[in-house]
Symmetry: C3
Subunit: 134 residues, 3 copies
Amino acid sequence: METEELVIETRSKELTDLTKDVREFCHHVGGSGLVNVFVPHATAGLAIIELGDGSEPDLAHLLEALFPKDIEYNHQHGAPGHGADHLIPSVFSPSIVVPVIDGEPQFGRWQYLVLVDRNPDNPVRHVRLSFVPA
Amino acid sequence: METEELVIETRSKELTDLTKDVREFCHHVGGSGLVNVFVPHATAGLAIIELGDGSEPDLAHLLEALFPKDIEYNHQHGAPGHGADHLIPSVFSPSIVVPVIDGEPQFGRWQYLVLVDRNPDNPVRHVRLSFVPA
Amino acid sequence: METEELVIETRSKELTDLTKDVREFCHHVGGSGLVNVFVPHATAGLAIIELGDGSEPDLAHLLEALFPKDIEYNHQHGAPGHGADHLIPSVFSPSIVVPVIDGEPQFGRWQYLVLVDRNPDNPVRHVRLSFVPA
């Protein structure tokens, strides 16, 4: 299988754009099929959203509304509120599939695929890209 | 790859049932594998739920609870509350995969695959169906 | 297609670990590609999270925050609050894809794939595993 584990420098940002990485992987592999993006971490997930025009801070507010850092969690490891980070992949799935035609992932004009990671202790993350041809 | 971009008339409804479209595509293609349903828009997503018996208005309430229209968003384009629409695909992923056996998608008896789109300004949407054989 | 419908005894627990089942299926099938996990029910979903260290009760609290049992639902079948169960698969998608290399699903060290089902009336559930080779 054409598969590759990317090393992503999040620089501790909540959102990291992976769209270009997915495009380059698909261009390199070529052909038509499905590309799977998979994050092998327990405190990060994926989302397909528009970037720019204020969508990043709006998503940051949604993350805080869904997974507030200041309530008590049973999970006690890490920095205060780290229990919230462990809930992220349950809603923001770490696995997404995108159709590919002739080496081009079929993102819409305003779609970006982003890594969602609220843990500032993770400046580097891994993301696996895998291609299955039709 | 067997792939097709459907043009879906949502008639500005929040939920549009795509189950029959997916079934027909799989019947036409035949064989066993995975069918991917992908929405190339930045303000719409997908969900697999039961339809009927009150599930539609219950999902409408959930959408308003998760993405309230009447709070302030950084995203300022479109009608008031349009920032909320931009958050939908982050939780209701625009990509779903369904297993197919002998041309039949393996939905359970009470499962329907629906397009989720709260923006009344979008009476027509596109949905891509793609099949990868095993 | 290599595909199998598992019969899972949830014993009415909210979370049931499927990781070992997915691993065994992939070991048996062998090869590299994508494995799809699909739940053909309308009141259950899937999540990839860490287990242990308090993550289970934290996810239980998130489920109650997202889908409270004590509010009124339009859906009136089943036990009180059963309308909440019908919303679970809209957020916790019943379909997840995991990359497989040489018969090994590429879960991270802390990742577990779990069935999410809050309905105590379902002690037995079905889960379909399907493999598409690259």
